[in-house]
């Protein structure tokens, strides 16, 4: 295995107090529920915003949707926190898990996509009036964001089916496709 992941796993293991809390009877289900509620806050606000960027609801200016962003951030914060609790409780189940790795990759790319959007199209969009189509870059950003967050949800669900030593435990994308998807 890659040493980096081993170090990361060891660091995650140092949160023994959290791990003990998470192994109490109802902690895990409660945090999972929070993770799913966070998902709806995050995905709903982002989907509304992205759909507007793509071109649904053109009569409403894009900037009007901006007030929903804090709720996307709240959902993201809930899910980062609850996700971290899962991670430190059973680090070995996540650190070497292809589905988890892909999920994190998509979260990072979605973050970069948002940053790029703010740096490029946002100023123009913030001042645009009702009925205006978002510029091409904005439309692409919306579509990419929808796709990435959808993939995040799908990969999240797949984590359970990629337990280490599971039949579908894959170490690289090619083997992942060959072993787990195509069959």
């Amino acid at each position: 295995m890659i040493p980096l992941q081993v170090h990361f796993e060891a660091w995650l293991r140092s949160f023994t107090g959290i791990a003990a809390f998470m192994q109490m009877k109802w902690s895990w289900p409660a945090m999972e529920s929070a993770h799913f509620i966070g998902l709806t806050l995050l995905f709903g606000s982002i989907a509304a915003w992205d759909l507007r960027l793509v071109g649904v609801l053109k009569e409403v200016p894009v900037s009007a949707f901006h007030k929903l962003v804090p709720f996307a951030i709240l959902g993201f914060a809930i899910n980062m926190t609850s996700g971290f609790l899962f991670l430190v409780t059973f680090p070995e189940q996540y650190v070497y898990n292809t589905a988890f790795q892909l999920k994190m990759l998509c979260v990072i790319v979605a973050g970069l996509n948002v940053m790029l959007f703010y740096l490029t199209s946002f100023r123009r969009i913030a001042t645009s009036g009702p009925g205006e189509q978002a510029p091409l870059l904005g439309r692409i950003s919306g579509a990419v964001s929808l796709g990435l967050w959808g993939t995040v949800i799908i990969c999240g669900r797949m984590i359970t089916f990629f337990r280490p030593a599971d039949r579908c435990h894959a170490v690289d994308v090619v083997r992942f496709l060959a072993n787990c998807v195509v069959r």
Binding site: P29, E32, S33, F36, I37, L39, T40, L41, L42, F43, G44, S45, A47, A48, L51, V56, L57, E59, V60, P61, S63, A64, F65, H66, K67, L68, F71, W149, G150, I153, I154, G156, R157, M158, T160, F161, R167, C168, C180, V181, R183
Partner: protein, 165 residues
């Protein structure tokens, strides 16, 4: 009483494929699609409810009706994937009281959504009752999600002949 029916469901070819196929399009894919449907339907409902509670006031409330096709897609996706998941583990779902609680909460959430949309279309978006409906909707969906998640932890019988651990 329903055991023969459960046994029969558990022996169907479709059920065997869903549960036993190693393909990610089988059980895992159906589960993932069910979560996407949740995100689309409940996520956009939450956005509508937040708007009605006063967030993002420059979005006209009835504008959200334009998202209805997306929400409807999420709903039907979840009806189909939900039925498929019941077919995968009929005994597990149908012997668990929590499953009926979840269905009840979903029905409640959908009825509240319908009433809310009707009020929004009638120009009553700012009335106190509409706001109350929006607040209750948020709670009901949070409870529906929680009861859904708890299904994995409250199982009594996995299949007709296997009790849950």
């Amino acid at each position: 009483m329903f055991d023969p029916f459960f046994s029969w469901l558990e022996s169907t070819t479709l059920r065997t494929w869903i549960v036993e196929s190693p393909s990610l399009f089988a059980f895992p894919g159906i589960l993932a699609a069910h979560t996407i449907g949740l995100g689309l339907l409940v996520g956009l409902t939450v956005a509508l409810d937040l708007r009605l509670l006063g967030i993002a006031p420059n979005i006209p409330p009835d504008a959200f009706t334009r998202f209805l096709p997306v929400m409807r897609f999420g709903l039907w996706l979840n009806v189909v994937t939900g039925l498929t998941l019941v077919l995968a583990y009929p005994t597990k779902a149908l012997t668990n009281p929590d499953f009926y609680l979840k269905l009840l909460l979903i029905a409640g959430g959908l009825l509240i959504l319908r009433a809310t949309l009707r009020r929004v279309r009638a120009g009553l978006a700012t009335s106190g009752t509409t706001k109350l409906l929006a607040a209750v909707s948020l709670l009901v969906w949070a409870a529906a999600i929680t009861s859904g998640r708890l299904l994995a932890y409250t199982c009594i019988r996995l299949t007709v002949d296997t009790p849950c651990e």
